[in-house]
Symmetry: C2
Amino acid sequence: MKRTSRDIRTANRYAVLRHLIAKSPASRGELAESAGLSQATVATLVGELTALGLLVEVGFEESAGGRPRSLVAVDAAGGALVGVDVAETYVHAELFDLALGVVARAEEELRPGGSAPEEVVGRIAAAVRTAVESAAAADARRPPRVLGVGVTMPGQVDRERGVAVRAANFGWRDVPLTALLAERLPYPVHLDNPLRAATVAELWFGAARGRDDAVVINLGTGVGAGLALGGTLHRGVTNSAGEWGHTTLVLDGRPCSCGDAGCVEAYVGAPAIMRTLRELAPDSPLLTDDEQTATIGALGRAAAAGDPVALRVVRETARHLGAAVADLVNLLNPEVIVLSSWVAAALGTPLLAEVREAVARHALGSPFAATEIVLSPIPTDPVCLGAATFALEGVLSSPGPTGTTLTAHTT
Amino acid sequence: MKRTSRDIRTANRYAVLRHLIAKSPASRGELAESAGLSQATVATLVGELTALGLLVEVGFEESAGGRPRSLVAVDAAGGALVGVDVAETYVHAELFDLALGVVARAEEELRPGGSAPEEVVGRIAAAVRTAVESAAAADARRPPRVLGVGVTMPGQVDRERGVAVRAANFGWRDVPLTALLAERLPYPVHLDNPLRAATVAELWFGAARGRDDAVVINLGTGVGAGLALGGTLHRGVTNSAGEWGHTTLVLDGRPCSCGDAGCVEAYVGAPAIMRTLRELAPDSPLLTDDEQTATIGALGRAAAAGDPVALRVVRETARHLGAAVADLVNLLNPEVIVLSSWVAAALGTPLLAEVREAVARHALGSPFAATEIVLSPIPTDPVCLGAATFALEGVLSSPGPTGTTLTAHTT
């Protein structure tokens, strides 16, 4: 509850930078208005961010009747951030400039079903190195100044200690991932969970931008709901908020991977959708490939083409998903609910239409009328983007230009 | 998302006053530390609150090696606030001093099953007048200076416009309650919902005090969950957050008063508990009286005395309540969950013990380990107390000593 003056400074730097990433250049007056801060505070913040190499002065703008106003902008090339999305079968890394545009990408494969920490650490380090080298090759005169790396790990994460507390699909418990990565990478590493990364990406760049209360639903193998309440990420007391996939939808229903029964995930996660397909049409040709990504992709294409079996599976999934989304509408009264991740992308518009109808049947009229339900508009991997913003957050909470400042690294 | 400087000033006044209500007297230094504000800001705020008649200087305290520090305290007798709890069968009013101690009480009955707005407005005005007169009679030399009245109305409330948008048990739609009360009462009136009032009461004075993330479960005829996230009330975009009673626990289950089926309220609200009793023991002597309050009261006494039928009803209720509470643990990861209102008070310790066991079966291990589950420790009506704090909030958001200031009213 108590915010220190350092917390407040970090939040204010964040507000100014967030505005400039969305819209550069801007005058100090615009920044003061948008962040709700005094002109004097903004002038100080702009000075600090400029000294950190994040902003540049970009000239003057005529102002009505007064002296010309100076404009500042994000110095896109002033530094780089890397976002890493670790999942059961892959490691994605994306290198961003400071305007959070993608500069380079790299990918490493993981064997499904439980990679050891050393292997995953090696793949993450390799992917980051490849992305940095590829960015350096693209502009040899100005190699990327990497300010930080954000890494997401599924499951329960202790971000302060940098520990993967529990990653069920990897069979991990209490793996000190940040410390292991520090031995391999010369950059500050920030660890968090992909659900929260995707939520921050929507908050900065996607469907939750400018909204006070938003929920970002992650539909993949696992299922979760990132909560952006009061304009910021709601983490909960042990950074585990959002386990909506393990709320009860059908008491004593289908068994769930968590050990309980009747959870939302047991009806709308990718394996659950495949189970529904098997139950409704055991001989469906869509099932020839038992691999999740391929099957859900084929299901989405078949539904879009009007295939009756695929449409029944989508409808049955939406019947459960809609009731569970209505729970979020009734409990949290958000402005927007975003369907994100690969299952949402694969099932797309047919799923969205059915979900909206199902939510309307279950939600109370007044909060339902106030809630938009949309597919994520972010065209790239929102988890990498969110992971990079966590790295940026780390940069902004550094002591600043009068302290030891941030350590810059070039290849 | 954007906070105006007036919002910030109100929040700061609130932080200072909240500290002093919890612990008076205090030095400006203590206040600055507890509120995370500068000494200069606190000095200004203390000046404003003193000019509003809310604080007094109460002398000096020796400080280690420096000059003595002056102490301030809430001026308990400097004003009065009235909190009014409107329910289907009654109107409770409590008059508080500025330290939020109860000075006087009054109660009016309402006929169950749909009172007209004029009748309810009349009863509210009568209860407030009786409470004010009773306080005036107790101390004739200093009649209460009533600074505001907080009124709670069940259902959907538009607090900005002062309208009861929807009150299902009353059959109301869009009743301008604040305007109607303004014709009868010479005090500023602040309207909100009892769920939010009970939550604020726990946040200021109860089990949620000093906690970042708390959920206050209201177990009565209706069922809801007040959300105190990041140390403040989460209202949602149309002030209707907390409708946990209408989240789905058993898809396609028992019909619910909201028109949907399988909602939490259909298993754990007072009428649902009576239905469970009727299903388990149609001939139970506990059912002789069909009135909710009497039956639930008898059930609680029987369970505490070890009656096997009563214990089975409590266990069956807890089986559902525990699964639904686990949903809150998994989704929100709170520090504390408080069971409040009359059904929780009547079923008390036997219910709490069974609920804790049921939550343990359904919640994920890590957030469950971080969550306390307790009965409300507030000895008086938390809804009246919360309603009075809403009135206090109204006083604190007044322009202040340099503006038109607040209007004081004495009988």
